[in-house]
Amino acid sequence: MTNDKSILISAKKITKVFRAQGSLEGLEVLKSVDLDVYRGEALCIMGNSGAGKSTLLHILSTLDSATIGHVLFAGQDLSKLSQAALSQLRNQKMGFVFQFHHLLNEFTALENVMMPLLIAGESFSNAARSAEKILNDLGLKDRKSHRPSALSGGEAQRVAIARAIVREPQVIFADEPTGNLDQKNGQIVQNVLFDLNRKRGVTLVAVTHDFEFGRRFPRVKTLRDGQWF
């Protein structure tokens, strides 16, 4: 759902070529792709495996860079930012949910959720208070002291969502967030993400090849062989 029509992220002529080490020939995964993401909208990028949807998501979210083309975030050209500035941008304004939960095994659910706040320089007590509130909101009150290995797949993914939103980001990038979950847990995760989009106005950019999940988005774009279909 689009709350206002201002552009948050704008990708211009994005081309991505992967080259094997020592090889001159490359694999062109994205071919001059344009995309505008509006503030507060929920956008789904769909496509078959190898279509380039995850690569595009990584480029939009500063986790990777384009071979050609550039991305503007809130009007700021990301190619002109230093690595430190990109790190700060990710920490302050972006949240990530991946197919695999990517939680840190040596830390409890609560500590994992505290991480973005601690990286930002928050005190341990403040970070713990904020993280605990979000875990409670997501129904994980009883799981906060558990390590990732002691959580179910759905719980781990919800902890990952809690970690993604604890800094109240402007946008959440979700890369196949339900890909590793059964139908029931998949539904729970989907509902959480859409609630965040609707109730908090967080922009949601998701990548999936799951039609059922994709159908719930107001705007869906499909990639095929590195180009919009």
């Binding site: 690595q83 920490n91 973005p116 601690l118 970690r163």
Partner: protein, 410 residues
Amino acid sequence: MFELWVISRYIFSRRGGFFTPVSVLAVSGMMLGVAALVVVMAVVSGFESTLRNAIVDLVGHVYILKRGAALEPLEEMEPKLKSIAPEIRGLTPFVYVEGILTKDGKVGGVAVQGLDSVAVDQALGVKKRLVEGSFVIEPDAQGVPQAVIGQALKRKFGLKVGDLFSVALPRTSAQSSSGGFKARVARFKVAGVVDLGMHDFDKRYVLTSATSAQNLGGLGKRYSGVRIRISEAGLAQDVSFRLSSELGMGYVVRDWVDSKRNLFEALQIEKVIIFIVVLFITVVACFNIASSLLVTVLRRFGDIGIFKALGMPQWRIMRLFSYQGLALGAVGAFGGVAIGLLVCWLIVSTNIIYVPSEIYNIDHLPVEIRIKDVSWIVAVAMALCWISTLWPAKRGASQAVVEGLKYDER
């Protein structure tokens, strides 16, 4: 703070923590290197201190000899010397003559030092070195001069407490029928035996009263010089220089280092060389720590990707792994110090290592642990360790986010 919190978890993790075989081996290597340095430095320092104490106890921190004329009475000299060097804590006059000891057909050169039995404690520490008999240097009831001798001298001549021996002093004489020499001979009774701490001293020195030495040397009431104790051995060169400048050409002023200057200078150079050579063990250990850290970094590729995705900048990730390497190094360095101190304690308490005194001047391996030496060892080991962690830490920090996340999915 955040980085320390993270590494505190990593350290006790089964995944690339402290207790993996690679880390344990690396830390053990560091411990051995540091322990070797601690022991070697303690032994060299101990050797240096043993020699210094032996010299200072026998000749004082500083000593003054008078050229030609007789030395002024001590009552006159003392205020003058103290005004030049307020560091002076005590003085004792002494007589020094060299002669030949004869006993049952055996002959050997000796140095006879005549001391004031009361004032001797103010400047010298020979009394505390007594190992047999008593420190009596005044003539006995029958008027026989008594002497305290070094223990090597005792062994060499087979002397016992109560034995008599003769010391002859060759003097040139025109009236002599034996080619211009006329011996002045005195008999001494062994009252005690001292361990002077250095074989050179032990085999040569005969300590007696100033009067007995003056009689032997035919010096009348003249003293050879004054032995001086000052507040700190390290100030001896400075005090000696000031006294020499102020007293002028009529006096010779020497400090304890002058007695064995070449040896002490060689020791200083040796200490530095030994430190550098043994340090190579620590350098090799640091390479092991670097490789152990590299293994940790490789195993943490996933975590690095996560931290980067969450917005942790590259330099902080580098710092994170650098701290982990330093923590390994700190365990190695402080563990090594503990092992080194234990070995030093064993050396001292068991006295198990025999040293031939004829060669090394001492008969046991001396040990002295100096805080300054240990601090240097720890500082250098930690600095080397920190340098060795930089490359693995940089390698980890510069890894692409997406690659790290892919690694975490395995």
